[in-house]
């Protein structure tokens, strides 16, 4: 008797406790997504009340929009470059800083700090570094006798954006460092005693042991790279009072184009269609990565967190 009334009470209590999130999810995620889909079937311009139902016309136009395709491919390419580099870089740094070093805490802090600089300050900082006439990079090149490079215009701007993104890999580094310290030393010692080389121990013992963390870094890295929009907007050469300049082709990522459709062209309907297509693409890629994780992620505990 006690058990039954207990479980009913608990059911109601559970929903009471999680209700803020349920309400938040419905009102601030589900409703906007559905609303965006509704908008994508209209020619709404953001202000005029005389918008019309256009059916799937926006999607048909999007299908023929070579700029949108180009920016989507650019976003995928950017992700394919930045995520592997930053995960590998973070892992390399973590391995390096997991050794006995002098002032190890100071080294770790140095590599960690850039990852907490807010995006706006980061953009201002890198614009100063990339500045054609007074920037740090061209000053260093000048010492080496190399002519100045205009970093923030095509086609170099793409690599500038990659550089800025890689600069923040210290966040991943500390997480991997903690993961490395969670690997039982006995495992690695046993492999060494068996005569395995350092590289083989790393490849076949250490990496599998930390693969859940590597996986987490890949997934969050991909998601973060897809939604990049502030960096290209703020790194663009400024020509207006808003501080946002003309984004060069090579850093014209998908979300940048969505942003421009909304707020420069006032094409809210078309921009919403772009959002929805991106939503599907991201869902598909996330599922794909999740699926592939079974092949290469080794879990000590199962995915529910139970041992």
């Amino acid at each position: 008797m006690a058990a039954r009334s207990w479980s009913r009470y608990s059911n109601r209590t559970f929903y009471l406790f999680v209700s803020p999130w349920v309400a938040g999810f419905v009102l601030l995620t589900a409703v906007p997504l559905v609303y965006a889909f509704g908008m994508s079937l209209t020619n709404f311009d953001g202000s005029s009340p005389r918008w019309r139902w256009v059916g799937l016309r926006n999607y048909a136009e999007l299908y023929r929009d070579t700029d949108a395709w180009a920016s989507l491919l650019r976003t995928l390419g950017f992700t394919a470059i930045v995520v592997p580099l930053s995960v590998a870089g973070a892992l390399g740094l973590a391995v390096l800083l997991n050794r006995r070093l002098k002032a190890v805490g100071l080294w770790r802090t140095i590599f960690f700090l850039p990852s907490v600089v807010p995006v706006v300050a980061m953009a201002i900082m890198w614009k100063l570094v990339f500045n054609r006439d007074a920037g740090l990079l061209n000053a260093v090149l000048a010492v080496a006798g190399i002519d100045s490079i205009t970093w923030l215009v095509d086609p170099v701007a793409f690599y500038a954006l990659v550089t800025v993104s890689l600069w923040g890999l210290g966040g991943g580094m500390v997480i991997m460092l903690a993961a490395l310290q969670g690997v039982p030393p006995e495992l690695e010692e046993a492999a060494v005693v068996d005569g395995a080389s350092r590289w083989r121990v790393f490849r076949h013992v250490t990496v599998p042991m930390i693969s859940p963390v590597l996986f987490f870094q890949v997934v969050t890295g991909v998601i973060a790279s897809f939604q990049i929009v502030v960096q290209p907007l703020l790194l663009a050469e400024t020509n207006s009072i808003s501080g946002v300049g003309h984004v060069p082709r090579s850093t014209h990522l998908y979300m940048v184009q969505v942003y421009e459709e909304f707020f420069q062209s006032n094409r809210f309907g078309y921009g919403s269609a772009m959002l929805w297509v991106f939503f599907i693409v991201i869902l598909a890629i996330t599922l794909l990565v999740q699926r592939s994780s079974r092949l290469w992620v080794y879990y000590e505990v199962d995915s529910d967190g139970r041992h």
Binding site: R12, L101, P185
Partner: protein, 288 residues
Amino acid sequence: MAGTRRAHPQLARPRFQPSAAAMYVLLLVLAMLFVGPIGWLLLAALKSREEWGAIPTRLLPEQAQWDNFGRALTDINFAAYTANSLFLSTMYALLVTATSALVGFGFARLRGRGQHALFLVVLSTMMLPQILTLLPTYVLFARIGVVNTYWPWVLWGLGASPYLVFLFRQFFAAIPRELEDAAIMDGCGWARIFGRIFLPLSWPALITSFLLSFTWTWGDYIAPALLLDVDHTTLSVAITAWYRDPRGNAIPTVQAAGAALYTIPVLLIFLFAQRYFIRSVVASGIKG
């Protein structure tokens, strides 16, 4: 950060080997790449406008122009924007920490129908780029007339954050069952168990959650840029655009000083709290 615990003899190396020296050189080069941009910003903030534009480029200012910091504070209404940022970040952080702790507790300690499916939704919204929902949310907020107010942040705060829900769920799940069993025997309801037993035990998670959500809002650019007008906007928007001379050109030296001042609070928070952050992020990373 915690010290190393690599002490097994087979992997440890004698101190002064060529490879050790090479490693320090490598570290030094890498460190310069990571610190260089920050240093350049600080140097720019101390140069006069002529020195900043000088050709050939000069590394150090002849005389440090501390006045740039003064101008950063007075050229724009720095105090007002700081107050906006502080208010917005603190309010959002308090609300979202409270709601996320509640929801995390629900998922960790209570049972309900459809719980597993709901938690999968939490996990998948963690993966959903915020910007996807932000643009349509902006249109909705404009419709209901809350643009240029701080209500959107109240609503976001009340709605809990999937990331923090996950963090609290991991934290609460690790607390032994005996604690609540004893309280239930004494006739405590779940609200009391949560408020009197679990919350007092969870101050590391509460602090982490507060500081993380505070820094998110402090560092956010796109939501305040879209939703707030000139009077209500935050420091992050103000420093990008409004350090201008009368002809409308940006003043890089003053802007650099403004950016440095704007970054200091976040740097301090992370320096003091990085251990908590790392522990909680690792907990969610490994078991996610």
